[in-house]
């Protein structure tokens, strides 16, 4: 059951009434109990695996933070988490998936090899467990000696199914303090939930549902122009689905007095791929940067001090993006996607090495816009590798380049794309604040009324659709 379903939101409202009336430790226990209750809604093995992983990592953390054999315990901990995750990630290669995915989108992703037998949330909390062990080893966070707090770090229900991927330092520190009702935070939390519902139900679901299922399997049925437009619709649908989820997760968490990290910052305004990865799924990008890119890059930079050395240019981005591809899916399409993304970063690096740097502020606006469009086109084109059946990818690009055609999809659906960009631009101008929080009172009231009406109307018209990233 996704976190934006009515029963979950109603449970949160009831929980809030009790939450602020009890002391800190009981607040944590309430959240932990609710988080495991949330897991049980998916299945009891999901909750059991989470409990086993929490117990194992709690014990490993104490060993890693101890005096003897620290390095060995850290290696064991990382290996244990990675093997558990890889075991489930690749299980679908050997075991048939029971039943089908719910929506035609999910079915398409499964046919494309994206879905797997991976238990819900595992891909996200495994990364958090690894960052906990590494940070304890680096002395950046003390080993947690309070099991309920540690278990809550992995299980916390707003972020359980699809992140944000939190760091132990910031998350555990918040659990050490009692949370008291703060009207400013409560208002911002409610606004984030509303903003997330608008993105998910009104924009994301509508765009994703509009894309014909056959688009993923038989691109030869479409003209090149149609393929490009459906791809654009899908990309904006995927973005609003995930960004909407993150807003809801952050908003719900803020209601409970716990801040979660932002995951998106107007990704389609990025001028290059480096910037894009600092604007799209930020917590995953930063995790990969801190635990994959920096260790590899720094080891190589010590060995080869010249920035222009081939090893420095090639290996860190390629290996990091391969890891990103593998994290997203155990299929050839995802590995190819990782290679292409790595190649984009390498290409950018090569260009930068042969051109003096200029501050971004001095760039003319037409040039900035051109760069953003170019990054969007290349990024979307790479996504074809994971969306369309791998065998049909050459057909897709042949149609685009050779048979562009003039047929257009139903243009009404495209009206939601400017709305998505407008929300991004507004949030970017206001440092990520949801648009209901700031601005003139009348404008806020009108936006609020329009958003509530739209959410109500769209939610009435179809069942609750799970989030795409839940499948990763």
């Amino acid at each position: 059951m996704p976190i934006h379903s009515l029963p979950i939101l109603a449970c949160c409202a009831i929980l809030l009434l009790v939450y602020y009336a009890v002391p800190r430790r009981e607040q944590n226990l309430l959240l932990l109990g609710s988080s495991y209750g949330f897991c049980l809604l998916f299945s009891w093995p999901v909750a059991l695996l989470l409990l086993a992983m929490s117990l194992a990592n709690f014990a490993l953390g104490i060993r890693v933070g101890g005096q003897r054999g620290v390095r060995g315990w850290l290696r064991l901990g990382i290996l244990f988490n990675l093997l558990t995750w890889l075991g489930f990630k690749f299980a679908h290669l050997f075991v048939l998936r029971p039943g089908g995915a719910g929506s035609h989108l999910g079915a398409a992703l499964w046919e494309g090899g994206a879905a797997s037998l991976i238990p819900i949330g595992l891909s996200f909390y495994v990364l958090q467990a690894i960052s906990y062990l590494v940070d304890v080893r680096r002395g950046q966070t003390p080993p947690c000696r309070d099991f309920p707090s540690f278990a809550l770090y992995l299980a916390y229900f707003p972020k359980f199914t699809a992140g944000p991927i939190e760091r132990p330092r910031t998350f555990l520190a918040q659990l050490m303090q009692a949370r008291r009702p703060d009207w400013g935070r409560l208002g911002r939390g409610a606004a984030l939930v509303l903003s997330g519902l608008l993105r998910k139900i009104v924009i994301g679901d509508t765009l994703l549902q509009a894309v014909p299922a056959v688009f993923f399997h038989r691109p030869q049925k479409f003209g090149g122009l149609e393929l490009l437009l459906w791809l654009t619709v899908f990309v904006f649908g995927l973005y609003n689905d995930f960004c909407g989820y993150t807003d809801i997760a952050r908003g719900l968490s803020a209601l409970f007095g716990i801040e979660l990290s932002p995951n998106f910052k107007g990704p389609f305004f990025a001028h290059n791929f480096f910037e894009l990865w600092n604007r799209w799924h930020i917590t995953l990008s930063h995790w990969l940067r801190d635990y994959v890119y920096y260790p590899i890059g720094r080891a190589l930079a010590r060995r080869f001090p010249r920035p222009g050395h081939a090893a420095n240019i090639l290996l860190p981005p390629m290996l990091t993006m391969l890891a990103s591809g593998l994290w997203h899916g155990a299929a050839a399409g995802f590995l190819l996607w990782g290679i292409v993304m790595g190649a984009f970063l390498v290409g950018e690096r090569l260009l930068a090495l042969h051109r003096p740097r200029r501050p971004a502020r001095g760039t003319p606006s037409w040039r900035s816009a051109f760069k953003s469009v170019a990054v969007f086109i290349l990024w979307s084109a790479a996504l074809v590798l994971v969306l369309v059946d791998l065998a049909a990818v050459p057909v897709f690009f042949r149609r685009v380049f050779a048979r562009l055609g003039t047929t257009l999809p139903d243009t009404r659906v495209f009206l939601l794309i400017p709305l998505s960009l407008w929300l991004d631009a507004r949030q970017e101008r206001r440092s990520g604040e949801p648009f209901f929080v700031s601005g003139p009172l009348l404008a806020r009231a009108l936006c609020l009324a329009a958003a509530l009406l739209a959410i109500f109307l769209f939610a009435q018209s179809r069942p609750v659709i799970p989030f795409v990233y839940q499948d990763f």
Binding site: D135, R138, Q140, H271, F274, E275, R289, D290, Y293, Y294, P295, G297, R298, A301, R302, P305, P307, N312, P316, P317, R349, L353, R355, P356, R357, R358, P359, A360, R361
Partner: protein, 84 residues
Amino acid sequence: MPAEEEIREKLRSYVCREIMRREDYPLDDDAPLISGGLIDSFSLVHIAAFIEREFGVRLPDTDLDVAHMDTLRAMAARVARAMG
């Protein structure tokens, strides 16, 4: 132990020469480097390696971000603190 100003000058010279490839660039102490689009994580890796070679201190990976390395002044202060 070098003064913070000396650290800043060495960093300025390295960043202009090796990262920006414009030795004559008038890089201000407070110019935003990461948020201003002048350096990225690739450059930060090499600045960190330069700091290790030049000053003998290793900055943690988590400090290679906009909060600690966005300006020459912030970088030099971080290095001076690490040198104790």
